[in-house]
Structure formats: structure tokens, C-alpha cells
Symmetry: none
Subunit: 165 residues, 2 copies
């Protein structure tokens, strides 16, 4: 709070005129950044036609943005929660939305006979789980690791199992 106040050039107590608690501020920041991410994602998948392209774009933008939106990372990551637990908690609210987007891409791909998807709900969930799993080492590991490379590899696997024929 002290730090927030300083950054705002305000007295600590003034903050409580606008927010009821520290958590509320935190929520607001996360909401704000999640909205940015959502916009980036939707424009990104619109920019490509093919379902494969959409899926590729989505995964890339998502992971890249996650890296950029580092506010929570720097603010909270230090020691409060286990890393995975932390990410899990933040995203609870936005999971449904993400599933919806993924389902849409999958459904569209299946309609166009490019994906083979038995149950878009479950497949979307599976992909989401994978993406989440990917976030953990993204924060955890040293930054030297080539993320692009790893993402490509994973996408390859994903498509190789998903693309028709």
C-alpha cells in the first residue's frame, strides 16, 4: 500500500477513498490487464483466416502477452504463493471465456474439415490445461530458454494430433 501510495503521489489513506481494500485494487488491476489481453487475443484471431492459423496465433499471442502483463508477476510473485497456485487463482475468473474462444476456433476448424474434434468442450479444456501448464515454467525458469522454440514444438504436437489426415 505504501508503495502504491508513493507511485500515486498520494497519502496511503487517500487510496481507501477509492478502494475498499488492497485486494480490490489488485482485482481491478488484474481485470484491467485481462481486458487488454482479451482484446489482443480477439483481434489476433480475427487477423487470420485458417483455423490452424487462428490456433497458432492465439497460442502465441496469449503466451507472449502473459509475459508482458507482468504487473502481478512483479508485485506478488516473490514469495506469497506457490507459482502454480498463484496463476491458477488469478485466472479462475477468465477460464470460461478462454474456453469459449478455443471452442470457437475448434468448432470452426471442424466445420471446415480441418480439425478432427469429437467434443470441442473437452478438447478446448485440454488445450487450455496445456497452456496453463506452459505458463508455470515460463515464470519459473530462466528467461534464456527460447520460448518461441518451445511453443512451436508444442503447437506441432498439438496439430499433428489434431489435424485431419
Amino acid at each position: 500500500m505504501e508503495e502504491v501510495a508513493k507511485a500515486l503521489k498520494m497519502g496511503k489513506s487517500s487510496i481507501y477513498y477509492y478502494f475498499n481494500s488492497k485486494e480490490e485494487i489488485f482485482d481491478a488491476v488484474v481485470l484491467y490487464e485481462a481486458n487488454i489481453l482479451r482484446n489482443e487475443l480477439t483481434t489476433a484471431i480475427k487477423s487470420v483466416e485458417s483455423p490452424i492459423g487462428k490456433m497458432e496465433k492465439y497460442v502465441f499471442v496469449r503466451m507472449k502477452s502473459f509475459e508482458k502483463l507482468s504487473n502481478y508477476y512483479n508485485a506478488i510473485f516473490d514469495k506469497n504463493l506457490d507459482h502454480f497456485e498463484f496463476i491458477e487463482k488469478i485466472r479462475e475468473k477468465y477460464d470460461r471465456e478462454e474456453i469459449a474462444i478455443l471452442r470457437l476456433i475448434l468448432y470452426d476448424g471442424a466445420k471446415k474439415k480441418i480439425f478432427k474434434v469429437k467434443n470441442s468442450e473437452y478438447t478446448a479444456l485440454a488445450i487450455q490445461t496445456t497452456l496453463k501448464g506452459l505458463e508455470v515454467p515460463l515464470f519459473w525458469q530462466k528467461r534464456e530458454v527460447n520460448i518461441d522454440q518451445r511453443l512451436k514444438a508444442i503447437l506441432d504436437v498439438l496439430f499433428y494430433g489434431i489435424v485431419l489426415k
Copy 2:
């Protein structure tokens, strides 16, 4: 302490069987790392013959090592102390030693008619002060800044003022 205990896979209280306080652990770590640094430095200056080379090597290795020995950086730096104050505090103990090494290099250089040094004690102190000053922005500033470049520039200045003729 909780974190240290966790890292050690021990109960918090067990740690106090070996150390009397948090500070004592901290000191032990610093001492340990300072010893590594000392070794690196002494072998580094031995590897070169000329006083100018020695001085160059010393400054480089010192600054590079300082960057590497990031334990205290990560452990304490977050917010506890002002940056400069922090560095100052840690090094209090090892300043004498450093001065001694610098004096040796200077003295040797003067004897070989390469340096002009009126009072090696004071000159060593001046150099040390400069090096300390250099450490602050090293932590403070973004890492993108080219340290090598800056070190070279500073060494140039140092020598231009110090080398005979």
C-alpha cells in the same frame, strides 16, 4: 527464515541449532561468496604481468563477479534498504582487503615507473570509491546498458590520469 527452512527441508527452529540469528546466516553467505570473489580476483591479477593489465583485470573481474554473486541481491534487495546504503553495509568488512590489493597493484606499477602515484593509500581509496559508485547503477539500472563499454570508458579515464607521460 521460513524460506530458508523450506529450502533446507528443515523446521524453522532447527536452523537455530546451527546459527544464532538470521544475520549470522547472512554473514556466512556473504563471507562465503566474498571468499570466492577474493580467489577469483587474486588469480586474475596473477594472470597478467603489467600493472595496467592487472588493474584492468581487477576492475573487470570485480564488477563481473559482483553481478554474478547475486545472492544478497535477490535475497535482500527488494525494498529493505536504499541500494547504496545496502551495498555500503555489506562491504564494510572487506574494504580493507580491497584497498590492500589495489595498493599493491599501484605500488608495483609505480616501482616499475608505469604509474605516477603520490600516495598509494589515497589513490587506492579513490579507485575503490569509484568502483563502489559504479556498483549502484549496476543494480539500479536496466541490464540492457552495456557494462563492458562503460567499464572501458572509466578505465580509460583512470589510466589517462594515472599513467606516466
